[in-house]
Amino acid sequence: MSEERKEMFRQLAIYSHVGMTFVLSIFLGLGIGWYLDYKVFDGRTAPWLTFIFLGVGVLAAFKTLWDLYRKLMEK
């Protein structure tokens, strides 16, 4: 494989991963919140933990983007 194509594959691996991780972070946060709300606390805290963890999930999603950005800036 030529140098260029190798680099292309590397970039493809990294960037095609970003979108999926972004979306899944949000859903994972939502899922954790929902689980805590309805399974652990039996709905007594609903819907607050769901909202809080949804927010945390969104922040985690942006953090993955931020980490990628920082890694790019280092280069």
Partner: protein, 240 residues
């Protein structure tokens, strides 16, 4: 989604073994006879026997079989060395090379009628991803000791617990997305092929998807391995 005909399942059924018709079997024997399990074993046997047959004894002047494997092995080594350095590549080579060869073969056999890709089942891809995930954290702990955990706490002490939760979620998302992507792509290929075969198999309708399937198989295998390698490289790189 099941393929219409899976020849290993047919053989097992003829032998009187219980082949489950639901995605997951109930008893242990049923679970062992799942198509994705049997085809995984088939790929394993293929990967053990075929290099033995084609390579034979190692010679100084390589024949065609040995030449092929030398190109494959050294090509993979080059890619890993670029990311991991010489020492890291040597250490991780058995695992990563096994992943790449296994995923390529497992993706590719789904294109042949009568076979299915084991990687079109989430259990297989999730298992592989968990191995990668545990390995890269273990490597991080080995190379940095307890300081590795500090990476997850961020620069500000007050925000540390919050950052820890963020990191846990984004790490778990990494686990999910790495497995889901391989599984999703191969599953989509399999379903598309099955549907096109049923709809217009006589008019060669699945042919373009078969061509695309070859591309998808190779690209997804490359992407999985490159991501695994880059996670390990990230965990091993010296702290700043």
């Amino acid at each position: 989604m099941e393929h219409p005909i899976l020849f290993i399942s047919l053989i097992l059924q003829a032998l009187g073994l219980p082949v489950p018709h639901t995605p997951v079997g109930h008893t242990l024997l049923e679970k062992l006879c799942e198509p994705y399990m049997t085809y995984t074993w088939m790929v394993m046997i293929f990967l053990i026997i075929v290099p033995k047959l084609t390579m034979g004894k190692l010679e100084i002047v390589p024949g065609s079989g040995q030449n092929f494997w030398e190109v494959v092995i050294s090509g993979l080594m080059d890619i890993f060395e670029e990311n991991l350095g010489k020492k890291g590549a040597r250490m991780l080579y058995p695992m990563m090379a096994t992943f790449s060869l296994y995923i390529v073969i497992a993706n590719m056999i789904g294109l042949i009628p009568g076979f299915m890709s084991p990687t079109s089942n989430w259990n297989i891809t999730l298992a592989m991803t968990i191995i990668v995930w545990v390995t890269h954290h273990a490597l991080g702990l080995r190379y940095h000791g307890l300081k590795y955990i500090k990476h997850f706490l961020g620069p500000v002490p007050i925000l540390a617990p919050f950052m820890l939760i963020l990191e846990i979620i984004s790490n778990l998302a990494r686990l999910l997305s790495l497995s889901m992507r391989l599984f999703g792509n191969i599953m989509a290929k399999e379903i598309l092929l099955a549907v096109l075969f049923m709809l217009a198999g006589a008019f060669f309708a699945p042919l373009p998807i078969l061509c695309l399937g070859v591309l998808v198989s190779l690209v997804q295998a490359a992407v999985f391995v490159l991501l695994a390698v880059s996670y390990c490289a990230q965990a091993m790189e010296p702290a700043h």
